[in-house]
């Protein structure tokens, strides 16, 4: 009798233990994010860390998943990690995407962009104060303000210059003055500290709202197409689809909660939106044109 009981117990142990272990592994989804500090734009690294920590808490509170973030300093590190499937998803400045678009596109199942304004894609404007600056040619030797990490603004400016200025780049060279914030570039132009600035339209609108007299003093010299964005997140094709859906769902509901609002405020964005990756094509086209122009006018 006693042997029978032991036998039954052993059989149950043999059956239930692997099931338990199997159940633990399969129910807990996890993912690692790679975040490139370079090109964080106006978001402070410290703020970004706090925001991500808060977001992690929110995501794991609502879902049985593990989320980890790795902050990377260089483009190479993050691209390497994404290539090696070290990260389930990465957030990078679009400039680095444009530089590595082939690779990233091949590894990505879906992507999302951050929104700074009301529109999905952003425009850049070239603002000037001096009435004598009527064309891009007049910017020769002038100081043009661009936010420190705003690589796209710089590309837009160069693209416009290459497109409209003479072949001799050196002659038409302007001086780029880096500012900590996009709005600082506008204000510096307004107060005459610099001659022009390249900023997103959303930033310019915001500054205008805060002081309508800004638009009276500043003049738009050039406007880009609506193809830009501050940050892009790519979800690796190897990442668990359920995990990605959970994350995208959590991203979508961020503006609807107070804590989500706090997180967005720390990132200084209005929201994050999943897009089809093909929507990035105009940006890539623009970049190709830029590359072509640059190479043609060397």
């Amino acid at each position: 009798m006693r042997n029978h009981i032991f036998s039954i117990f052993r059989i149950m142990l043999i059956i239930l233990l692997p099931l338990q272990l199997l159940a633990d592994d399969s129910s807990k989804l996890s993912g690692k994010m790679g975040y490139l500090i370079d090109g964080l734009s106006s978001v402070k690294y410290k703020d970004a860390r706090i925001a991500f920590d808060l977001w992690k808490i929110e995501v794991t509170k609502n879902n049985d998943i593990d989320v980890s973030i790795k902050y990377l300093d260089t483009e190479k590190e993050i691209i390497k990690g994404y290539k090696n499937s070290e990260f389930e998803y990465i957030s990078i400045n679009p400039f680095f995407y444009l530089k590595n678009s082939k690779l990233i596109d091949s590894l990505t199942q879906t992507c999302s962009i951050t929104l700074e304004g009301d529109k999905e894609f952003e425009q850049y404007v070239l603002l000037v104060k001096d009435k004598n600056i009527k064309t891009l040619k007049d910017l020769r030797g002038k100081k043009i303000g661009i936010e420190n990490d705003d690589y796209l603004a710089k590309i837009f400016l160069e693209y416009e210059s290459l497109k409209k200025l003479s072949k001799n780049l050196k002659k038409s060279r302007y001086e780029i003055v880096k500012t900590k914030k996009k709005s600082t570039a506008i204000l510096n132009t307004y107060f005459g500290k610099i001659d022009a600035c390249v900023v997103p339209v959303s930033t310019y609108n915001l500054v205008q709202e805060l002081n309508p007299s800004v638009s009276k003093k500043l003049r738009v010299l050039s406007v880009s197409k609506e193809i830009f964005m501050p940050l892009i997140t790519f979800f690796h094709k190897d990442a668990n689809k359920q995990f990605v859906d959970i994350l995208i769902n959590e991203i979508n509901i961020l503006p609807t909660t107070s804590q989500g609002q706090n997180i967005l405020n720390l990132f200084k964005i209005k929201g994050v939106k999943e897009i089809e990756c093909k929507k990035l094509e105009p940006l890539k086209t623009f970049y190709k044109k830029y590359e072509l122009l640059k190479s043609s006018k060397k």
């Binding site: 600082t184 204000l187 107060f191 805060l210 002081n211 007299s213």
Partner: protein, 528 residues
């Protein structure tokens, strides 16, 4: 312990006094606390505003020096974004006073000049005050912070600190104070109620007991067991009521005894009164009898007088009769008697006898009392009296002078009036006989009209009535005449007749060396 009316006036006074004292103290304390808390809130607000202003100064000082407006704007925006209590921040640079940066929660702008109320706050020191800001169109706590470093004044940082928190705190403070006030008031009312009750209850007990004692309930006791003054008062009161009760009992006993004595005395007095009544009745009866006797005497005297007067009247006819008889005797001796003579004697005798008989009739009529009131002539009534006494007066050499208005009449009893005149004339005669030895004895009778009255004045020259008796002469039984000659009833009766029966007055006075008796009566206007 009996139930007493607690909400008495005294209780109310004590209650109101304690309640109002507590209320005043609480209100005063709350006022001080509110003022102190208000100042504390202002101090906190000032401290926060100064801290922010200092932080702004610290960060923007370089920008102020280098005139980096964009930095200043961005920093102020950041500060305002991070501190929603800051309604506005203004940076005024001393070297660029026409480039004043104003940043609010909604926007920012460049000003060429400051609103006057803000500009006035700029000085070498930190200034703060609550102002109505035109920038944000609301009341703010404005702090003007001068930016000074390296010994140079670079400008001012002006901060409009929101009063919302201050007002909310103040509102909360006021509400808290109101709640505290209500609670304290409630407690104070309860406290006042119990204290008032504690103080007033013994007094009301004593008052109630005193009231009971005042309405005679002397067995009332006050039960206050405290050792204080009220307890002592209660003991004293109880002692007093005991004493009062004993006194009352003694008094009652004494009263009862007194009542018995009074009853006894009253009985005795009643008895005495009965005896006295009897005695008075007896005396009155005696007096009545005496008066009757007097009247009788008076009548007798009057009769005597009448007889005397008749005698006087009869003397002359009697003498004449005597002479007739003597002549008849002589005529018989001389044989002169014939029929003619006899007839003449008879006629003469009859005439004399008729005269005497008439005299008797006259006197009888004079003394016959009138029974009904009639109008009569004063003159005729006086003449009747004079006729009666005329011979007596003549015998005593008394001259009568009459000044009488013959037309005057009065209403009354003529016979009794004549008796009064006769009485007065008789008294005058007696006085003249007694006191006037001269040949000039006069009785003057004046009858005249005075208004609606008739004045009859009978005067003599007998020396007058002695002054010591002049007030007594009308008293009954008063006489100055020798015993047997006067009854003392004549003047009394005369006064009674004039004043009681004829509604007049009779007075006596001395004048012109004699006595004058004045009779005043209402004149009769009727014609006889």
């Amino acid at each position: 312990m009996r139930r007493i009316k607690l909400f008495s006036s005294f209780f109310q006074k004590i209650f109101v006094l304690i309640s109002s004292t507590i209320l005043i103290l609480v209100l005063f304390s709350e006022y001080l606390i509110l003022k102190s808390q208000e100042q504390s809130l202002v101090n906190v607000m000032y401290s926060k505003a100064i801290t922010i202003a200092k932080a702004i100064t610290l960060v923007t000082s370089d920008a102020m020096v280098t005139n980096d407006n964009s930095f200043i704007v961005e920093h102020l925006q950041k500060v305002i974004e991070d501190n929603d209590v800051i309604k506005y921040a203004i940076v005024t640079k001393a070297q660029y006073e026409d480039e004043i940066i104003l940043v609010t929660q909604e926007n920012w702008s460049l000003l060429s000049s400051l609103p006057l109320n803000i500009k006035n706050t700029h000085s070498e020191t930190i200034n703060s005050e609550k102002i109505k800001s035109r920038i944000v169109d609301e009341k703010v706590f404005h702090v003007s912070f001068p930016v000074v470093f390296t010994g140079i004044k670079w400008g001012w940082i002006d901060i409009g600190y929101s009063l919302d928190e201050y007002n909310n705190d103040l509102d909360f403070l006021y509400k808290s104070m109101l709640i505290i006030l209500i609670v304290v008031l409630g407690i104070s009312f309860l406290y006042s109620f119990f204290i008032s009750k504690w103080i007033v209850n013994p007094i009301l007990l004593i008052n109630k007991a005193a009231h009971n004692v005042s309405i005679g309930k002397l067995d009332t006791k006050v039960e206050i067991n405290s050792q204080d003054e009220l307890g002592q008062l209660s003991n004293s009161f109880n002692h007093m009521t005991n004493t009062l009760k004993l006194s009352d009992e003694r008094l009652r006993k004494s009263n009862e005894e007194l009542e018995i004595r009074v009853q006894e005395r009253t009985h005795e007095l009643n008895q005495l009164n009965l005896d006295l009544d009897k005695k008075i009745q007896e005396e009155v009866s005696k007096q009545s009898q005496q008066e009757k006797m007097l009247i009788q005497q008076s009548r007798f005297a009057a009769m005597g007088e009448m007889i005397g007067n008749i005698a006087h009247q009869w003397r002359q006819p009697l003498n004449a009769m005597g002479l007739v008889i003597q002549n008849l005797e002589l005529a018989y001796e001389m044989e002169m008697i014939d029929e003619k003579y006899i007839n003449r004697v008879i006629t003469k005798s009859n005439r004399l006898l008729g005269s005497m008989s008439q005299t008797i009739d006259d006197f009888r009529n004079f003394f016959k009392p009138n029974k009904k009131v009639e109008v009569f002539s004063i003159k005729s009534s006086i003449d009747i009296s004079i006729d009666i006494i005329k011979n007596t007066l003549e015998n005593n050499m008394i001259n009568i002078i009459e000044n009488i208005d013959e037309k005057l009449t009065i209403k009354g009893f003529p016979s009794e009036f004549s008796q009064v005149i006769l009485n007065l004339l008789g008294n005058a005669k007696d006085a003249l006989v007694e006191n006037n030895d001269s040949n000039n004895r006069e009785i003057i009778i004046n009858v005249s009209k005075e208004g609606k009255d008739v004045l009859v004045k009978i005067s003599d020259n007998a020396g007058g009535i002695p002054l010591n008796i002049i007030d007594d002469i009308f008293d009954p039984y008063f006489t100055t005449k020798e015993e047997g000659k006067g009854t003392g009833i004549g003047l009394y009766m005369s006064k009674m007749i004039i004043e009681n029966n004829m509604d007049g007055s009779l007075l006596a006075k001395n004048e012109n060396n004699g006595a004058s008796f004045l009779i005043k009566m209402k004149i009769n206007e009727e014609i006889l």
